[in-house]
Symmetry: C2
Subunit: 380 residues, 2 copies
DNA sequence: ATGAAAGCGCTAACAC
DNA sequence: GTGTTAGCGCTTTCAT
């Protein structure tokens, strides 16, 4: 008795009992001393091993509960070389759809017993390198690349793979052979454009940004897919590549970084104003996000252009803002809630070696949501 | 030479050199063997200690760089009992203002060399307890409570403090003596209400939710402060406590949890519809967020009530959506970008023992942004 | 200016 | 069914 008291520190025990006995952090060593058993037995109880006498087990469990024992994950990690931790690297973002994706990752991680370290980066090469260093240093079991599909990321991702860490991306990245769970935005934009075509529109414009990212480029590709399939000409005059300086080009990684700091609303407003000022206008406009569409709605309001009568508008994302826009938006709904589940399932199986060598690449589909802005619905 | 090769594993060295020499993870032990120096000397170089011969230092630094050495933070943590890791506990959220706060915390943490573990919780007592367990287990150096000021959190926060972990909250929590950095929403709502009063409004309504959280309650208090100061009567008929079931009450923690799943837009739409249907209406309406105000804008549009002429509307948050609303919103701008800096500064100083015993409690002020929805501006 | 050695809390192989 | 022990990668006295 005296021995054990000395062992865990006479003074600290005194205080801990006196002040908040429930909230002291005990080590296995201390618990073992108290119970007069060995580390191994304790470990067996902790891991539900059958090789423990029931009486012993119960005595141990009771003590564990009384002491509110929480294992030290750091020590576990050091010993096992597994941290039960996943790293997310990417830019922070205020886009509601991105947030929902992120949340679904958090939820899924929690369910599978993984903690998440969010390695924030502003997208600059130095910040990205720092993020990787951070995650490597903390021995994360796997990494989720939460980005917008910039080509500049290729090298970065390769270095992660070379380091032997499982990596899941949310965009297929050319030249990077790794697991990828993504929403097929190209197909989504093809379908939302087709919806406009089916409604009888022939003169259709596209409002995107000048970014070279997959996030943007895929949307243009999908739009062109639909136009081509319908044998409709694409009027380049009606494709607006919005950019911060209004010059409609982005030529460097630095300019990309700056471009992402501007809101989709703003791009939508600028872009639509530009389009509406032209001598001839399309009868329909595909916007790269709902937020851009809301910006366009505002521009139309200022220009006194009636939506959808004079210009049909569609967006992409389908978060709450689309529903409550001045003209409720026709848009595509992404399965954001599903992504986290899929990503974690893939990543964890990869970590556990349950997957073959070839990368898992899974495309998820978006769903058309018809509201008033396209002119098809007249509810309300 | 042979010895060192054997020591770090003949096979693994072979492969690592062959496949990706740059990306192997080396331990201090391995590096020490290669260089023929001691752990201590390596450590001195790593920590910039002056007690190393310049020649030795350079030789070591060169090797470190060549091998791309990244220290194992897990081992460091175990040894020093400091993880350079901070935990954030709270619900995930799609509110743009919350996201900006969170981002500013990430940025500030990165600058100070701390990693962030986001311990997601849906707000239920079990999930909260799990979050605390997770953070305790991972030995975070401090915790940031990222919540909406629910009374149910009091016990939770007390248990963190009892455990001896520094805790910073973003709401003053009654009964919890800890550091707190917050935006004074009560004062903000007093001022935005006063703005309406100054514009000549006497009949002013308030649209909030039925939540008992500080997030909501402070807003009502601020509204009442302004009305009282101006000696204006508060018409309870014009205070809308929106709730999911339309019964305008929330009576339990469970109901609170459900209530937070519904968007502010939706509450704004429901609440304003309710208000506009009444026999008598106020001439101005204070909404609990910009998103609620946008929902109210939509309800007004449906009811063909002209904003701001028949009803002035103000919100709170001032993110991009406020600017591009059908009627650009008069609102209060929170210093979200500042919060991370302040929170981290406080938390890190607390961790380092640089603060006195008494809690740091700092209130930040919001700023009035006047646009069209209040009827004061007519810019376009 | 440099090195040897103990130990952070845990797991797991091995002994009894 | 239970106990002993080595060691994960690092920091840190204490010697030399």
């Amino acid at each position: 008795m005296l021995e054990s008291a000395i062992d865990i520190g006479l003074l600290s025990q005194f205080f801990s009992v006196q002040i908040h006995p429930k909230d002291m952090t005990y080590t296995q060593h201390q618990i073992v001393k108290r119970l007069g058993i060995s580390r191994a037995t304790l470990h067996r109880v902790l891991t539900d091993s059958p090789k423990v006498k029931t009486a012993t087990r119960e005595r141990v469990l009771k003590e564990l509960d009384a002491l509110n024992y929480v294992p030290n994950a750091i020590a576990q990690s050091l010993k096992t070389s597994k941290t039960q931790t996943l790293g997310i690297m990417g830019p922070a973002t205020a886009n509601a759809s991105q947030i929902d994706k992120l949340t679904s990752i958090y939820v899924a991680a929690r369910e599978l017993g993984y903690s998440i370290i969010f390695a924030y980066s502003d997208g600059s090469p130095e910040a990205d390198a720092n993020s990787i260093r951070e995650l490597k240093s903390r021995m994360v079991d796997g990494i989720i690349a939460f980005d917008r599909g910039l080509h500049a990321n290729t090298q970065l991702y390769k270095s992660i793979i070379d380091n032997g860490k499982p990596l899941v991306t949310l965009y297929p990245t050319p030249g990077v052979e790794t697991d990828c769970i993504y929403v097929d935005t190209r197909n989504a934009f093809k379908r939302v454009t087709k919806h406009l075509i089916d409604l009888g529109h022939k003169d259709i414009g596209l409002l995107i940004t000048a970014s070279k990212s997959n996030y943007i480029v895929n949307r243009e590709l999908g739009f062109r897919d639909a136009m081509q399939k319908a044998k409709l000409p694409v009027n380049d005059n009606w494709i607006i590549y919005a950019s911060p300086d209004g010059m409609n080009t982005i030529n460097s990684d630095e300019e990309e970084a700056v471009a992402w700091k501007i809101s989709d609303y703003q791009y939508g407003f600028w872009g639509a104003s530009l389009l509406l000022a032209k001598r001839t206008r399309p009868t329909a406009l595909v916007c790269f996000t709902d937020e851009a569409a809301i910006g366009a709605l505002r521009a139309a309001q200022v220009a006194e252009v009636s939506i959808p009568d004079e210009l049909a508008i569609v967006g992409y994302n389908d978060k709450e803002d689309a529903k409550f826009a001045r003209v409720p938006l026709t848009t595509m709904h992404q399965p954001d809630e599903l992504i986290g589940k899929k990503v974690l399932q893939t990543l964890v199986r990869r970590i556990n070696g349950e997957l073959t060598d070839s990368p898992v690449v899974e495309a998820l589909s978006a769903k058309l949501i018809v509201r008033e802005s396209c002119g098809a619905a007249t509810t309300n």
